[in-house]
Amino acid sequence: MSHRVSVNPITCEAHGMCAEMLPERVTLDEWGYPIVDETPVSGAVLAHAMRAARACPTFALLVERERAPSRR
């Protein structure tokens, strides 16, 4: 089963924890906000993702099954 990593940009406060704990999917922009690669994660990377999500001080990093957030 594939999971997807995304970020809630409203709650994100650029602590940067995710880039440290999930370098496989997250880099930071010049202001320190995460740029998330949304290609599905599984196995060891999924475990890293879960750990990063738990470590985010504002719980802004999301690991979800199936769909990615959509905006309009």
Binding site: N8, P9, I10, D29, R71, R72
Partner: protein, 466 residues
């Protein structure tokens, strides 16, 4: 308002003997004040009944109305051209009693169509909103206007009063409750989750999605948010059917649309056009241009600029405009005169868009500010050699990274300006301000406190047949 509209370079076949004429929405529009309920019913006839015949029948009628809207191919008029029936089905299919929001916030500074509808034809919007509410099983319709649109709110309240005193009249007796709410005058306040946030007691700022409004919106109930014009079209589709609706427009974008035309034309204002009609015919209906054009902004401040040389033969449909990276959006068409400096205009717009950020999302807050700063530096001739690359990088750095599409729309309009007016940007980067930089500002960029002045009203009709 000639009986035979101007000749067009249009992309449609010229024989339309049997097609109904425009206007549709703007039919019978009073030159002053609003059309009363009696007149409205005399002109359009009563709206069909959806509810009140027992559960089974009600359900069938509701489904039939949505199917009709689907066949009509109605696309949302709030900017994104989203298929209306798809959204209605999603709301109807979600668990819980639904709510319908008529979005007449019209946060786009150069748009006056929704205000025009509410101030002159409030019953059309109310009919559509009530029909939509009945179709998705909602018991509540909330019409949202901006604080500065006092005339719209007043007109709505008068219209609701008329309906209350005629409640015995089956023609207008509908069960959903209706109320009017106001939102602060801010660009992102018109975004659908910002409206929901505000109505729920929060600030008028967008919410993170999912959940999408159709599944869990206001008070966690399935919420249908439609633009006021979208609902007005529903009022007519429910009466006349999908084939009638499709007699105008293009196969992919059927029907007519309200557009707000401003800039150097004799009669700026709100016009009803057929999708696919030419910009030239619209300008002609507006009395022609009063200055040489430098270009046009289509789709408002999330739209795209098109240079004057490409305006000839331009068709007002998304299919046509896509070739220019533009779309009709909410129908804003802003003509830029030759005496304006497109670089100075773009720099002011960039700063304004940055100021309009709800400041919730880092990439939007910092990215739009950085974009504005870079564009201002070019306009002032103090940008480094790599300013354009920097702007491109910033653009790709903010797109799709906000909770709403404000950053995306902003990048779209700013990059289209830089692309369209490439030579002028290069000139400014090298030599600084030009003599036109001091010309009067043409793009309306209202401060929050200032209520915009509507352009003179001259609703008109326009078709793309010759």
């Amino acid at each position: 308002m000639s009986a035979s509209p101007p000749t067009l370079s249009g992309d449609r076949s010229p024989s339309h003997e049997a097609t109904p004429a425009l206007p549709r929405l703007l039919a019978g529009i009073p030159s002053d004040g609003a059309m009363g309920l009696g007149e409205h019913l005399a002109l359009h006839g009563p709206p069909p009944l959806i509810r009140g015949r027992g559960r089974r029948q009600d359900q069938e009628r509701a489904e039939r109305l949505i199917a009709e809207i689907d066949r009509a191919g109605l696309l949302g008029r709030g900017g994104a051209a989203f298929p209306t029936a798809t959204k209605m089905r999603a709301v109807a299919g979600s668990r819980g009693r639904a709510i319908v929001i008529a979005n007449a916030v019209e946060a786009e500074p150069a748009s006056f169509k929704d205000r025009t509808l509410l101030e002159t034809l409030p019953h059309l919007v109310l009919d559509g909103g009530l029909l939509a509410a009945e179709a998705v099983g909602a018991d509540e319709l909330i019409v949202c206007v901006s604080e500065s649109a006092r005339a719209s709110a007043q007109s709505l309240r008068t219209a609701l009063g008329e309906r209350a005193t005629r409640a015995h009249d089956g023609a207008v007796e509908r069960s959903p409750r209706v109320r009017v709410e106001t939102l602060p005058d801010h660009y992102v306040a018109g975004q659908e989750t910002a409206v929901i946030n505000h109505l729920g007691g929060g600030p008028a700022k967008p919410l993170f999605t999912p959940p999408m409004p159709f599944e869990r919106g206001l008070r966690r109930r399935p919420t249908l948010v439609n633009n006021a014009e979208t609902l007005a079209h529903i009022a007519l589709i429910a009466r006349h059917g999908a084939p009638w609706f499709r007699q105008l427009g293009t196969p992919t974008q059927p029907g007519s649309a309200l557009v707000t035309l401003s800039g150097p034309v004799a009669y700026p204002g709100v016009y009803e056009v057929e999708h696919g009609a030419s910009l030239a015919s619209l300008i002609e209906a507006a009395g022609g241009t009063t200055a040489v054009l430098r270009g046009a902004l289509l789709g408002g401040y999330a739209g795209a600029f098109i240079g004057a040389e490409r305006l000839r033969g331009l068709g007002l449909s998304n299919e046509h405009l896509a070739a220019h990276g533009a779309s009709l959006g909410a129908g804003v068409i802003l003509l830029l005169s030759d005496s304006a400096c497109p670089v100075a205009e773009t720099a002011r717009l960039a700063r304004w868009l940055s100021d309009q950020s709800a400041r919730q999302c880092g990439p939007c807050l910092h990215g739009l500010d950085a974009l504005a700063t870079s564009i201002e530096q070019i306009a002032e001739g103090r940008a480094g050699a790599r300013a354009t690359q920097r702007i491109d990088r910033l653009g790709s750095m903010v797109v799709r990274r906000g909770a709403c599409r404000h950053p995306d729309g902003s990048v779209n309009v700013l990059l289209s300006a830089m692309d369209t007016f490439r030579a002028e940007f290069a000139e400014h980067a090298r030599h600084g301000p030009c003599e036109r930089c001091a010309s009067p500002e043409e793009l309306p960029l209202p401060r929050r406190e200032i209520a915009p002045d509507p352009p003179p009203r001259r609703p008109s009709l326009l078709g793309s047949r010759s």
